[in-house]
Symmetry: C2
Subunit: 341 residues, 2 copies
């Protein structure tokens, strides 16, 4: 049989009452039982290979030692490292994550979250950009702690961990400005998702800080973070202003699209146009040329989010702080001084 050894078996062997066994086994309540008795119980439990049944425990305590992790799509290379960070940290604390993919579909998102709530998850970590606000209300009303990733709430009512997108873009802009570029384009992401929006704002700020003008024709918005949209947006910029010598993309995939667009236009990178990406995806250093990109500490995002959640799970009301993680610019072959052809 699987685990026929229950708390009652241990009690019988240790010759005490099951209640006592429960107390002796729990760190929290061990002090309530005689040291010697506790030792006897522990020995018995060990001998029998006793494993507490989390289901039964959860029924009584209303805790499942489980947390829901909501992400758009696991196959997006951005997420696995984050998930691992979450998983490792939560696992160390005795929690098991339940991972669901929403594909950014509000319906899927809703049903998944409801299922998780029914499963009595002790908390939620949501890494989805467009989170239904009513879901938040529900979770909050149910007293389920929530941590946001890569997205924050305007009113700061929920703790969140995000990377400093504006700072990241600033790094990118400062880099190409430092190389001597002046006509700099921006392939921006969709403005209805928070990262796309913040990165675009960051671009405006950084350009202004560098004392450079932004011609509206230098900016093009992609409808999605895909190569084809990146290509389209890049072509659009080149159409408006063929003299741009550098392009800051909101995302590596958009940057890859820029590569395509440049190639189609007969331009080469970095000789004619420098390109900077964002995220530093795995194997992005294998592109030709290797892409200069803003690295986000993905694993750290995960561990930090997990820490925030654990803090909330520990004492009821940990401060709903918002954590900004520092990005880092990884310089590779896709950026060079202008006119280096």
């Amino acid at each position: 049989m699987r685990t026929p050894v229950t708390i009652r078996d241990v009690a019988r062997l240790a010759e005490v009452h099951p209640g006592t066994v429960s107390r002796a086994l729990n760190e929290q309540t061990r002090m309530l039982v005689n040291e010697e008795t506790a030792a006897r119980v522990l020995r018995a439990a060990d001998e029998l290979g006793y494993r507490p049944n989390p289901i039964a425990r959860g029924l009584k305590t209303n805790r499942s030692y489980t947390v829901g992790v909501v992400i758009p799509d696991l196959t997006n290379p951005l997420f696995p490292p984050i998930v691992r960070g979450i998983e490792d940290r939560l696992g160390a604390a005795g929690y098991t994550p339940l991972i669901v993919n929403t594909d950014n579909d509000p319906g899927r998102e809703r049903s998944h979250v409801e299922a998780m709530l029914a499963r009595q998850v002790d908390g939620l970590i949501a890494a989805t950009a467009r989170l239904d606000v009513s879901l938040l209300a529900e979770a909050a009303a149910g007293g389920t702690p929530l941590v946001l990733v890569n997205r924050s709430l305007e009113d700061g009512s929920a703790p969140a961990v995000t990377v400093d997108d504006r700072r990241g873009i600033a790094l990118a802009v400062e880099h190409v400005v430092g190389l001597g570029h002046r006509l700099i384009g921006n392939v921006a992401g969709p403005q209805n998702v928070s990262t796309g929006h913040r990165r675009h704002l960051g671009f405006e700020d950084a350009m202004q800080a560098a004392g450079l003008e932004i011609d509206p024709g230098h900016v093009s918005f992609a409808d999605a973070f895909t190569e084809s949209e990146g290509s389209r947006a890049c072509a659009e910029i080149l159409g408006h202003e063929p003299r741009v010598t550098a392009i800051v993309a909101a995302n590596d995939r958009l940057a890859m699209g820029c590569y395509d667009s440049l190639a189609a236009a007969g331009l080469s990178c970095p000789e004619d146009v420098s390109i900077v990406g964002f995220n530093d995806m795995p194997f992005i250093d294998r592109l030709q040329p290797p892409l200069t990109s803003v690295r986000v500490p993905q694993r750290e995002i995960g561990t930090t989010a997990a820490d925030l959640l654990l803090a909330q799970l520990g004492d009821g009301d940990a401060p709903a702080q918002e954590i900004l993680l520092e990005p880092e610019l990884i310089v590779r072959g896709s950026t060079a001084p202008p006119g280096s052809a």
Copy 2:
């Protein structure tokens, strides 16, 4: 409150006994209760927004509607599509996967699997190459259904879904042979993991089928599926036999290492040496040159594994069949006729 509505509340509203509610709500037992009563119960449940508590149900039924998914490392791009396949299929059947990463560490593997067993998972899907046999014994002894992925048991005692590695390598070999190559090298993977082993055997078979000799110097074994090992192994082959015009690698990352090694030797691909990879990782088509690779139906692996497990969960003893999935060769720029320089 979270879900204060229990089966008792429904019973009160519908004016029946909780037991009756339970029967009415369960598809299986609905026939036991009067049609009209059942309708009343359903209406009441709907009105109250009743959500059954899986924890309580699991306690009584010894089912958690949860399955454990054991993989080496989620950040390895091979796995996310498989996991999604599993997740989507299991989710549709009402099961939730618990995902753990072992990093191929037997200790982690053991503790994770034990934790999952304690959590009463209804089944296990293991995608890990070196699975501790005692774990299998334990799971089997506990009556926990198990499905293997990318790995099978010699005695065929557990259902498994794997891609036809030998066939995949045969596709690769036939391709380069068709292009006119005769001196073909093999950067093989570690032989203590099943995929590495089978792919190497596949290479030997395919070469023999093509009527070609395999000089021992044409084969080099990597200690791990990494770029650096691929590079080392490739250099070793080139050292033994500089005249090889094509290399079949056991894996895309090894193939990427081959790129490095060729570049270091001043050789170009595909002009001097053609290279074929295996797995068709995301973005591998973005390499320079785009890598010809054997595509494995990753998502399908996941869905098939889930189906196999669901079959076992349905009726106690479904046949322990072993399923071989068909790979497909994706021809890109890294392969060309020999001497095309």
